[in-house]
């Protein structure tokens, strides 16, 4: 993996935080509970890190750690998106 420098990573982090603050501030106050389960599922994107650790040619103990992390992230993805949709379905105007 090529190594980008600290500066560009920090740059991405700061910009993403500003976008996040801007977008989240506009989220309907009715939907804070589904918002939390949705952002939770999204941050389970950590799954990509776990896939690399689990699937690459690493020592066994490392891959076990990766597989447990992968399981934890996958649980968050599945339950996070499903429960968000389940809650959002309940919000009806009339």
């Amino acid at each position: 993996m090529s190594s980008s420098d600290f500066g560009s990573m920090l740059f991405v982090f700061v910009l993403a935080t500003f976008i996040g603050l801007g977008v989240i501030r506009r989220v309907s106050r009715l939907l804070y509970t589904p918002l939390m389960s949705l952002t939770n599922a999204i941050s389970a994107i950590a799954v990509v890190g776990s896939i690399v650790v689990t699937g690459a040619d690493h020592p066994l103990t490392i891959r076990i750690l990766g597989a447990v992390a992968l399981f934890a992230s996958m649980t968050n993805i599945v339950s996070g998106f499903m429960i968000t949709d389940r809650m959002l379905k309940m919000f009806k105007k009339q």
């Binding site: 989240i24 501030r25 106050r29 804070y32 918002l35 389960s37 799954v47 896939i51 949709d85 809650m87």
Partner: protein, 471 residues
């Protein structure tokens, strides 16, 4: 080629995640957000999986199946248990970050000669941050979930002892100190042990952070843990040099940050106060000067008050959800609106056990979201309201919050139920609320009390409306 696909799909996934959150600004478009989120996730996972360094697929498939096996039942919990599920998912997020960080560290350490090259000060700092944030979020969220689930061996009440803050900060300071030592000497012979010690201290710190916190502070705690989980993902992104992780983690972190600030404001707590965990201490109940008497009302009397009203504001608290009374509330809402009464629900930001919880509980009972009104919008209407119906809410309608400086709820914004022309309060018992203070709303001249289980009382009330139609 696969590398290019990886880069492009990361950009696409980022865009989809931002749209997912953007669509949450309106309940009408919100479900689109879920589709965008799922698509982004599928793209990112697929693009990672096809990378050439992924050689072993069996365990990946197994872990994904296990994730489905646990995740699907977790998504079907009752809505009163959503706060626990959320805390549990923060725990899983923290665990994943902590484990990946640990794996990466020992991977780089184990390869001879590469430790000094791979473990640059920048990467080592990110690793330390990832592991500390990940593991403290893991145990802290497990404790929070246990408290919310009311697991027997986890104390519900805040556990405090002298010097607690010194101990807590001390544990964290040792972990950070060891981290600094590792950043300066990544290849040292003791670095493996130091790393394990940091992980152990972070796990301990998570527990210590949550034990002094009481049930009423859970909405704030969950939001803060959400921010920590997001930051742990950001740190993982820094370690793995993965911009998609940094972006998604930053979105999660900023959401947690905003919700924490909203919750702090709604409970009149400063952010620093909360960050150091020195919150949620239950103050001793203060004795009220003179005890005024309650005026008890019968269901028939309450029915007459409601029937003659033109506008009714219902103020639900967690007590309503505990009594599983949402569906009876809906029946009452129907009976009143059928008679042309304007019914609104006043939602305090900390009503329920996590941000927005009350809205979800009411939506489940098919109450249209257009009837759910936030505190700031309903308060100006309260003086023109004929009947304020308080259902299992207590501290969020206590007028003492406006002036009684010695009470823990002083300064907390409240719903102005006391300004309505008539107040009907349904209450399970005559005990004070969590803050342990008397609520003078209940002894006001225009307040009528209905004692009993919210579901039973509402059920009787709805029957009155049914009977009233026949006479």
């Amino acid at each position: 080629m696969t590398h290019l696909i990886g880069e492009l799909s990361a950009v696409l996934a980022t865009a989809l995640f931002i749209f997912a959150l953007y669509w949450m600004n309106d309940p009408k478009t919100a479900r689109r957000g879920v589709i965008a989120g799922v698509t982004g996730m599928a793209v990112a996972v697929g693009a990672t999986w096809i990378q050439p360094e992924i050689l072993h697929h069996g365990w990946i498939v197994l872990a994904i199946f296990a994730g489905f096996a646990v995740g699907v039942p977790l998504s079907r919990v009752p809505l009163t248990a959503v706060p626990q599920r959320t805390a549990l998912s923060h725990a899983f997020g923290g665990l994943a970050a902590g484990l990946v960080g640990t794996a990466e560290f020992f991977l780089w350490l184990g390869e001879p000669g590469t430790a000094a090259v791979q473990l640059t000060p920048f990467r080592m700092s990110a690793l330390v941050a990832e592991v500390i944030l990940g593991f403290l979020t893991f145990t802290g969220s497990l404790m929070a979930a246990g408290k919310l689930q009311e697991v027997r061996w986890i104390p519900q009440r805040p556990v405090t002892y002298p010097g607690q803050n010194v101990v807590n900060i001390g544990v964290l300071a040792i972990a950070v100190g060891l981290g600094v030592a590792l950043v300066l000497n990544p290849g040292a012979p003791w670095s493996g042990q130091a790393f394990i010690a940091i992980a152990a201290l972070a796990l301990t710190f998570g527990v210590l952070l949550i034990i002094p916190i009481g049930g009423a502070d859970m909405p704030t705690v969950i939001s803060i843990l959400n921010a920590y989980a997001g930051l742990a993902a950001v740190a993982m992104g820094f370690v793995l040099d993965n911009k998609l992780l940094v972006t998604a983690g930053a979105l999660d972190g900023s959401s947690g940050l905003i919700l924490s600030i909203i919750m702090c404001r709604a409970m009149n707590r400063s952010f620093t106060n909360v960050l150091f965990g020195a919150f949620g201490k239950a103050q001793p109940a203060i004795a009220a000067g003179e005890q005024k008497a309650w005026k008890q009302e019968t269901v028939e009397g309450a029915y007459q008050l409601l029937e003659q009203a033109r506008t009714v504001v219902i103020i639900p608290g967690y007590g309503m959800a505990v009594a599983q009374a949402q569906h009876k509330v809906r029946e009452l809402y129907d009976a009143l609106t059928k008679r042309g009464v304007i019914v609104k629900f006043a939602i305090h930001p900390v009503a329920g056990r996590m941000p927005g919880h009350m809205n979800v509980l009411l939506a489940e009972a098919n109450i249209p979201y257009s009837a759910l009104v936030e505190m700031d919008e309903i308060n100006p209407e309260m003086p023109q309201t004929d009947v304020a119906l308080v259902l299992g809410a207590n501290d969020v309608v206590n007028p003492a919050a406006r002036y009684a400086k010695s009470t823990p709820i002083y300064g907390m914004p409240i719903i102005d139920a006391d300004k309505a022309k008539t107040v009907i309060a349904v209450k399970r018992s005559k005990n004070p609320g969590f803050a342990g203070i008397d609520n003078e709303l209940y002894v006001q001249d225009n307040t009528w009390m209905l004692f009993g289980d919210a579901k039973a009382v509402l059920s009787d009330l709805v029957k009155q409306f049914g009977g009233g139609g026949i006479h």
